[in-house]
């Protein structure tokens, strides 16, 4: 979609996303193991057939390949953002590309958030709220995140005007 916003996320975002996706997958795998164990221990039970289990397992392997190895990469490549005096411009999406424009004077508050995974990679999310919507710039380097947050809030304060 024509020109894209100029700033990219931190390269480390890909690794952080991979970790969080892996944890999610790990939980699914645990559940699957439980099912396998159950069906192997009591072969006469009709709860799930072996074929269904095999199908689920194959499916899980494919999903894992996709969301652990490809999706974070694509997501990172797609994501870009730009903040200036008048507006915030975001581009995101894996399959569906979304371009978002937020006039700076509409910003109600902005904050940074950091979960345990992001923290271990020194990353943080920036969350921008307007009166109608909430937007997130994910996985920025800690310092950049702080800078962006302060920048936005300074601009928002300058552009005085209420709802």
């Amino acid at each position: 979609m024509r020109t894209t916003p100029s700033n990219k996320l931190s390269k480390k975002a890909i690794r952080a996303w991979r970790v969080s996706m892996s944890i999610f997958i790990f939980i699914l795998v645990l559940a699957l193991f439980f099912l396998w164990g159950y069906s192997l221990m009591s072969p006469e039970s009709e709860f799930v057939s072996t074929w269904t289990l095999i199908a689920i397992s194959v499916f899980l392997v494919i999903i894992t390949g996709l969301i652990v190895f490809f999706v974070p990469e694509i997501r990172w490549r797609r994501w870009s953002y730009e903040v200036d005096k008048h507006e915030i411009d975001l581009q995101s999406g894996i399959f569906i590309v979304t371009r978002t424009l937020i006039p700076i004077k509409r910003v109600q508050h902005v904050d940074t958030r950091q979960g345990p995974i992001l923290r271990s990679y020194d990353l943080a999310d920036v969350t921008i709220s307007t009166a109608a919507t909430t937007h997130r710039i994910p996985a920025l380097g800690e310092e950049v995140a702080d800078q962006v947050r302060d920048q936005i809030s300074t601009f928002a304060r300058l552009a005085e005007e209420d709802v």
């Binding site: 979609m1 024509r2 100029s6 700033n7 730009e82 903040v83 200036d84 005096k85 008048h86 507006e87 411009d89 999406g93 399959f95 569906i96 590309v97 979304t98 371009r99 978002t100 424009l101 937020i102 006039p103 509409r106 307007t130 009166a131 109608a132 919507t133 937007h135 950049v144 800078q147 962006v148 920048q151 601009f155 005007e161 709802v163």
Partner: protein, 489 residues
């Protein structure tokens, strides 16, 4: 002027009824399910017990509810178990509603609801008050808003405010073509499915045979469908009349006053500068008759499902823009440019309707006798898709954006450039091939805000509109130095 005081004791009753009304459907279902057996006495005592409990609760919460106005601030202390203090400064108050429900009318009282940015309106509701006190309260709280208080008041009395009322004929038309029809349909459908528990199927068939000598399965199904439609139509007819009876809009200097309702008189005050967007809704049943309704979005938070208010329930299509011109002139701007959806996107509109209707068709086909006929649903679905394609449009005027789109009924949203909260363009790979994308605008309304979307507009045009929207700051052009500073992030 307003010392710390309690509400009128009738608030206890009003509170109890509020709870009942909020959980009405749950209660009905409980009664339906509960009264299955022969123990009618048990059900009755259960109902009375619940009611008594609610009443006692109401009395306690009335006792614990105190309010006052000090230093231009509405202060409310409330809460039975957890004590809450709510302070609302008058310059933050967005809307003050005065309503009179059945209970309030019995005692000649009113309820006052104060909506602000940030606090939930339900919490700042004073549910029983004499009208004089309510008016005084309103005056007191509005006073601080307009700096020139006394002058404003005098002007108001001198300047005659314009009034628009809904005529009886229009009310009847509005009721018979109400958009609530669909909602009523689903409720009645559920109720009808309960009827089977009360009357056995055999009785029904015997009744049907008595009425119509040659009955087949098909005609019984047809009869059911007709019955459900008729009953839900009556429902929607009555509920619309109850809601919009004696509908009056009063245009004041800086606010709109809407009065409506048969049993429950509702009075809404909407300051002009709180209006976020205007919608012209051409409902499916009204459009062929040349009618539409006007809805405005206002920025009161704390209400989960957005804050739409019907500005006028029924207008002839030719009258709409004149009405807007007279009542909210800001929203009647000359359209200078408009763009339709490109012809190439038509197939996306048609296909979308096929995807939407296919599950329904397959489900009906698989489960209901004579379900094969459900394939005929495709025809209206495709027609609707075509109409959606025809109706989708973005237009702009000086500082106004007008988005038209249709799901079932056609909506035309008029949004001011400076009211936009965010603008979004979406494109999936299929759309990329056709160079189209969805264009949506978010405005503030309630907690969630509201968004208006035009689908499959040409991507270049969408980007143009976006550019145009972001240029909403003609004042400081020469500040390019600051921008360089920013881009060094």
């Amino acid at each position: 002027m307003f010392e710390l005081q309690r509400q009128h004791p009738a608030a206890a009753l009003a509170n109890a009824f509020d709870i009942i009304r909020a959980n009405f459907i749950t209660i009905i279902i409980l009664i339906f399910v509960g009264s299955g057996g022969s123990e009618a006495n048990f059900t009755l005592s259960w109902i009375i017990g619940t009611f008594l409990f609610l009443l006692i609760w109401g009395v306690i919460s009335w006792y614990r509810f105190e309010f006052s106005v000090e230093e231009g601030e509405l202060r409310i202390e409330r809460g039975v178990l957890v004590r809450k203090k709510i302070y609302l400064t008058s310059d933050r108050i967005q809307v003050i509603d005065i309503t009179a429900g059945v209970i309030q009318r019995l005692f000649g009282l009113v309820a006052v609801e104060v909506k602000t940015a940030g606090s939930s309106s339900k919490q700042a509701k004073i549910s029983a008050l004499t009208r004089e006190k309510a008016e005084k309260l309103k005056q007191l709280l509005r006073k601080e808003v307009n700096g020139a208080t006394k002058q404003g008041e005098q002007d108001e009395s001198v300047q005659q405010s314009r009034i628009y009322a809904l005529g009886t004929k229009d009310l009847l038309v509005a009721a018979s073509t109400s958009g609530r029809f669909g909602v009523a349909l689903s409720v009645v459908g559920v109720l009808f499915s309960q009827v089977e528990q009360l009357i056995s199927e055999e009785q029904m068939i015997r009744f049907a045979e008595a009425v119509m000598p040659r009955t087949t399965d098909a005609s019984i199904i047809a009869m059911w469908i007709v019955a459900i439609i008729v009953v839900s139509w009556i429902f929607s007819f009555v509920s619309t009349i109850v809601k919009y009876y004696d509908f009056v809009v009063e245009v004041r200097e800086d606010e709109l006053l809407i009065n409506r309702g048969l049993f429950e008189r509702t009075q809404l005050t909407i300051p002009f500068n709180r209006i976020q967007a205007v919608q012209i809704k051409e409902e499916l049943l009204r459009q062929p008759l040349g009618y539409a309704s006007l809805v405005i979005e206002s920025a009161g938070y704390g209400e989960s499902e957005g804050n739409s208010t019907t500005l006028f329930p029924l207008l002839r299509k030719q009258q709409i823009y004149r009405f807007i011109e007279e009542v909210i002139p800001d929203y009647n701007t000359q359209i200078t440019e408009n763009s339709k959806v490109p012809a190439i996107a038509l197939r996306r509109y048609l296909l979308r309707m096929v995807w939407v209707s296919l599950p329904v068709i397959l489900l009906v086909w698989g489960t209901v006798p004579y379900g094969v006929y459900s394939w005929f649903l495709l025809i209206p679905a495709l027609l609707l898709g075509y109409q959606q394609y025809k109706d989708a449009e973005i237009a702009r005027g000086e500082d106004t954006l007008k988005l038209s789109y249709r799901l079932l009924s056609k909506t035309t949203a008029i949004v001011k450039k400076y009211r936009m909260q965010a603008c979004q363009i979406q494109q999936n790979p299929f759309q990329k091939r056709l160079n189209v994308g969805h264009f949506s605008i978010h405005v503030a309304s309630g907690n969630q805000g509201r968004n208006f979307t035009v689908r499959d507009i040409e991507i270049d045009k969408a980007m143009d509109y976006r550019m145009w929207l972001s240029n909403g700051h003609p004042v400081d052009q020469g500040s390019s130095v600051d921008e360089n500073e920013v881009s060094s992030l």
